[in-house]
Structures are given as C-alpha cells and as structure tokens.
Symmetry: C2
Subunit: 407 residues, 2 copies
C-alpha cells in the first residue's frame, strides 16, 4: 500500500462529466489499496474568466486582491471533485491552502511554497478518506491568500508529495507524457519513458509547457518521483527521475522551441567596465527577466550588447533601454520581436563533445542563420529568425534524435 | 466621524459596471469622513450557478463540500470590489471568513455566527484603509468552511457591525426600503421610514424577503441600527430601530403574504393525550419546520389535527404522516398545497383590541374563507385559499393601513 499524490489540470476537470471521470480514476486508485491525495487546478477557462473580470475592473489590478479572486477558481473545482468522490460512496475531504497551511512567501501571483502542515492530511488519510487539495494557492505568514503563478498546481502537487513523502506524484494532463519534441511540428516525435529532473528543468525553461519549472526543481530537491500522464487514457506516461548511467546513451533527449522572447541590441556602445550593470539594473528593477545576453567587443573599442526578454515585457524593456542609451553613448537601439529560441537538451552532452558543432552544421545546411548562442552543461540554445522555427526543430530532431546512432 | 458598515447584495454587485458603482458609493462615504467596512454577497446568479454545478455532480451534494463551493462566490465578488475601490486610488483590503475568524457552529448551509475577531479589521481601518468582508461565509472551530444560508450576508453585515460597535449597518438592496406591503400587489403600499426589530422579525418570518430573519434578531440583540436602502438611488430607506412610544400610533405596520406553505390535515383522530407528540416527532426528526398547528376536538371524542409545512418539504411530510396515521387510528389524511398565509403585523396591536375582529370582518366582506388562524402579540396570520392572496392583501392594506384613522 502506497501513498499516491495525483494532480489533475484544468482540462481534466473542465466539465461536470470530466470531474466525474476524475472521481472514478481516484476511486480506482483507492480501490487498488492506496492512500490518495488529489491536487486540483481550476476548471479549464475559469482562471481566464476571472482574470478578464479583474481587468475589466482595473487596468492594473492590485496583486493581493487578484490572488484572492483567482484562488476562488481552485476552491470551486476542489469542492466539486470532493462532491463527486463522495457521491461514489467514498469518504473524501477537501482542503484549501489555509486549511493545511500551505505557507508561501508574500510574492503575490508568483509565490513560493515554504512549508505545508501535513498533520491534518495524514489524520484524514488514516481515517480512510481521500484528501482533495486546492492547487495553485497558499497563504503567507499573515494569512493573506497567495497564488503560485501559471502551472502552480504542479508545484502544489509536488510540494504535497514531498511533505507526505509520497511514493509518486502523478501529474495528469491532456498529453500523455513528455515528448522528444512538439509532435505538432515534428511527426517523428516520440514519448520519453524517462527523463532526468535536470533535463526537464532545462526543457521547461526552454519553452516546453508540460510542467511548471518550479515543480521540477522541488521534485529534484526532495527526490519525488513524478509521473506525467494523460487523464484520458491508462497509458504509461513519462517518469521524471534522478539521472542515472543509462541516460548517457541518449546524447540528446529533446528539442524545444520558444517563441515568447524578443531581442534588443544596443549598437556600438563604448566598451568600459560597469556598462552591463548600467543597462540591466533598471530592467531588473522593473521585474523583467532577461534570458540570453551576448556582448562582443570589436577592435574599435565599441561593443554590441544584445539580450532577450519575454515578449510580454518587450515594450517596457525598450522604454527603459531608451532612457539608458544616451548615458552610455550607444549609437542606436535595434529591436527584433520576430525571433525564436530553439534548443537541444540532454544529459548525455556532459560526456560527449561535438554535439554543438553537429547542431550548427545541421542548421547551416538549411541556410538558417544563428543570431545568438547560449549553452549549459546539458543544453544548447540558438536564437534564429522566427520563420525558421518549425524547420529547425524538424531537422535537429531528425539529425540528433531520430538518427542518433549516426552521429 | 462614524464607523459605517455597508452591505451590498448580489444584484448591487451583479456586473462589472455595478461593482464599479458600488466602489464609488463606498468612496463617497469614506470621503464623508467615515470609516467604512463593506460586506458583499456573491454576484447575482453566481450562487445559483454553483448550486446547479453541485447538483449536476451529485443529487444530494455533501454539505461540507457544498459550502466550500458556495463560499467561492463571495470570495470572487469581495476581491473584485476591493480591486475596484483600489482602482479609484483608495486603499482597501479584502477579508474572507477565515481571515477575520468569523467563527460559526458546524451546521453547514445554515451556520450561525458565534464570534468575530475584530482586531484585524480595526487595525486596517486605523491604517486608513477600507475593509471589504466576504459575506455569507465563516469557519467552524476546526477551520471547516461554513455558509449562513440564503440571505446570510445580511447576518454577516449585522454581526460585523455588532462586533465593531458600528454607528449603523446599511443594507443596500434592489428595493429602496421596507414597504407596508408588496407594491406589486397593492398600489397603495408605502415605504416605512422606521420599523421596530420585532415587527421586522415577524415580517421576515411571514414571507417578506427583505432581510434574513437571523440578521434582524442579531441587530435586536446587539441594538445595531439597521438602514435598509437602495444601491441605485440616494433616497433614505427604512430604519430598523428599537420599539418606541410613537410606534403605538400605527396600529398595523404591514401586511405580508406567504405562498410557500402547504396544509396537511389528519381527519377524525380519536382524541387522547400524546397524540400531537406521535404526529410531530417524526416530522421534527426529518428536520421539517412545522409552522401553524390547529387541533379542534369535537363532541364525538375525535379531533381534526391540521398543520402547515414548507411546500418544499410537503411530500416528505405526507409520507411521514401516512406512516403515523394507522397507529393513531386517523380516519384519513387531507392535503392542500394551494393555500396562502396572509398576515398583519404591528407593535400597536399590543395595546389595542379589536384588530383581529376588524381583520376577519374585512375578509368576510369579500367572501374569503379563513381556514386557520394564528396570533402573536404583534401579528395575526390567517391561512386562506391561495387564489384570494392578492385580494386579501389589498383589502387588508386598505382597511388597516391606508384608512387606519377609521378603525
């Protein structure tokens, strides 16, 4: 008898029928002799409906109240799932963030979980009941309601699993696992049976939208086995586990792409110490996350400074840079929102040279110009013209995953 | 500078535009130099939407989870109003039931407030902020979410006003006050400028749907002045206050009617001690509230026992009575759902005789047969055939209120 945490996303609880379907699944797990804790997102569309209400009220809604508003979505779906499970004759009990004290910091809209009081959950499980926990929400030290950001229910689920030392955290979603790349772009994409936490973190930060990145970091930190799978089938999905020897044999695990960034270049800036700080401090203060940064000094003592920011923050970033430009004597500003970041990820890269060269060669063969490059131990990202996104993903997937033996 | 509690019902916050309108009102009160605490219902239609979702999930939804579900409606409207007030540049802060510990008993769906922790509200008021409190909801001792039943936000508002010792509790609704009778039935109906708590309690229990009866009981207990008024106009509404001398001059304050009851008669029951207990114990155990009871012994040693129950519980009551009937040797059961209860209410009745006689005379003149009579110190109710409801209300209003001098 194991303790299993299951998380169901908005699509999985998107209608009365689907909620009943989830209740059946939960019951089946329980009847398999396991203790079950279920973490639920808001019904599909509900969060967007609430966001839209907030925006009709105020152009820049107050963050504290916005979180109170958004948390009501998970409150409703959690109650509905508990109702559905009880209607099948199985005792169940819902808990909101404040009831099991999912304590977070006070960063409204993107709060981080600090602790969970597992005692009440454990007592209810001991009484033979199924526990249904509202995802996405918590309370800060002063009992203010907080939310964890888009995809936050994944993080709730992993945190609950970690707090309870659960055997597995099953993430039920509308896809049946993690793929080597987007099957909509590349017909050769295939489901990974296992992937390491680190690879998954890279993938999440590179545009693969399966899991909230924070949830994977938590899973890695507390070594929680995560099983990503579909709520519509019984097929085995993808397991997120610790890296092991056998993974080395896969040189590249996945190809991802991200069209949500834009590129800004400060042209011909006189190169001197402190330049980068002058440019990036105001941007950081505006809470804009800069992703890639490239600086290339030329012989004439000037340098081009290029960086990428989320498209959503693009205009705000430009207006900040326009203020900085005169002070640092930049010759001009070049902007390009029509870019995309294509990346390859794989723990195998740690021990194999030549992957980067192969990647550049494959892209060159197709005449795709590389505008920026960024690497880590287990990934290589390139920024290219947006229009080549699908082509680049396809040729990289073919060359580096489908024909991996030929490398 | 006074402390004013304002309660806005579902219609008053039924749309984004109306929420903004309420925010303006709240701000105007604040700018008048007052501290303001606002209590909010769910947006009109929202509670019904949630009830319907629950019923699609389960025919008999679990009460604990149903309350968690329903409470989400007030959570959303409370956050939206706080957003709207802040958007006008006025600091504001929302509180849910658990955040200011509106502690209730554990009677899900009809919980009663036991205490409120006013310290946090007072602190926020002291900081110059407006406090927005979610109506209708609380938590029990074990932190389970509870709701107070239909109209429960009125009770939340009065309880908050009592806890804060507020100068007034303003109940904003879609009518502009308490009327002598339903203006839809009787063109001569007029708004009362003042009414005593006790009269209002009688009216609420007699079918006038302006306020939840529990809220008036609370207001009376803690002597909270309540001002019932419209959120769409600035007109003065009706004040609920302690009874005073001047009220005596009004013999009858209001005429009400209630079509939500049904009548059940046990025919020719051998009259003996313990009969009533045998009949009503199973009905009470089924949580059915019996309103009027009449028993008339005849010379032959049998008696007819007649009583009324809410129409919603009518069929359940009949099936219980059918089980009891053989044991008490009743000759038969007669049932009549097509009845209505018409009542006159007024503290002046305490000191004046002849009001009942006048009432019966007025009805007799119209050929309206009286099937049951029930009286208290300040009200007289009669049960009549449902089809005469409007007629009875009109003639009673004319005779006892419009031409009161002629009595």
């Amino acid at each position: 008898m194991a303790l299993i945490v299951q998380k169901y996303g908005g699509t999985s609880v998107g209608s009365v029928e689907r909620i009943k379907n989830v209740a059946q699944r939960v019951l089946a797990t329980r009847q398999g002799g396991h203790d079950v804790v279920v973490v639920v997102s808001a019904m599909a569309g509900e969060t967007n409906r609430l966001v839209s209400l907030a925006q009709q009220i105020a152009e820049m809604p107050d963050e504290r109240e916005r979180d109170v508003l958004l948390a009501s979505g998970e409150q409703a779906s959690t109650a509905l799932l508990a109702l559905a499970i009880k209607d099948l004759g199985q005792p169940a009990r819902s808990f909101l963030g404040h009831q099991i004290r999912i304590e977070t910091d006070s960063a409204y809209g993107k709060a981080r979980i600090k602790s969970i009081d597992s005692s009440r959950i454990l007592q209810v499980l001991k009484d033979g009941e199924i526990v249904v926990v509202a995802g996405f929400q918590g309370v800060d030290e002063a009992d203010n309601i907080t939310t964890l950001g888009r995809g936050g229910s994944d993080t709730s689920a992993v945190a609950v699993a970690a707090a309870l030392n659960a055997s597995v955290c099953e993430i039920y979603t509308d896809v049946d696992g993690v793929y080597t790349t987007d099957p909509g772009i590349c017909p050769g994409a295939r489901k990974l049976s296992r992937i390491s936490y680190e690879e998954m973190i890279e993938m999440a930060s590179l545009g693969a939208k399966v899991l909230q990145i924070r949830s994977v970091e938590l899973a890695m930190k507390f070594n929680v086995p995560v099983h990503v799978r579909s709520s519509f089938t019984d097929t085995e999905g993808t397991w997120l586990v610790e890296e092991d020897q056998s993974m080395d044999s896969l040189l590249v695990s996945a190809v991802t792409c991200d069209r949500d960034e834009a590129k800004i270049t400060l042209v011909k800036v006189p190169d001197r110490p402190g330049l980068a700080a002058q440019v990036f401090t105001p941007i950081a203060e505006a809470n804009i996350v800069v992703d890639m940064i490239i600086q290339n000094a030329s012989a004439d003592g000037t340098t081009d400074l290029t960086f990428t920011v989320p498209k959503a923050d693009y205009k705000k970033a430009i207006s900040l840079v326009e203020k900085t430009a005169p002070a640092i004597q930049a010759e001009g500003i070049r902007v390009d929102p029509k870019i995309s970041k294509v990346s390859i990820v794989g723990v195998g890269m740690r021990t194999h040279a030549g992957v980067a060269a192969k990647m550049f060669e494959v892209l060159a063969r197709e005449g795709i110009n590389i505008e920026m490059i960024s690497t880590s131990e287990i990934k290589i990202s390139v920024v290219i013209n947006e229009k080549y996104t699908e082509l680049a993903v396809r040729v990289l997937h073919e060359a580096l995953i489908e024909r991996q033996g030929n490398l």
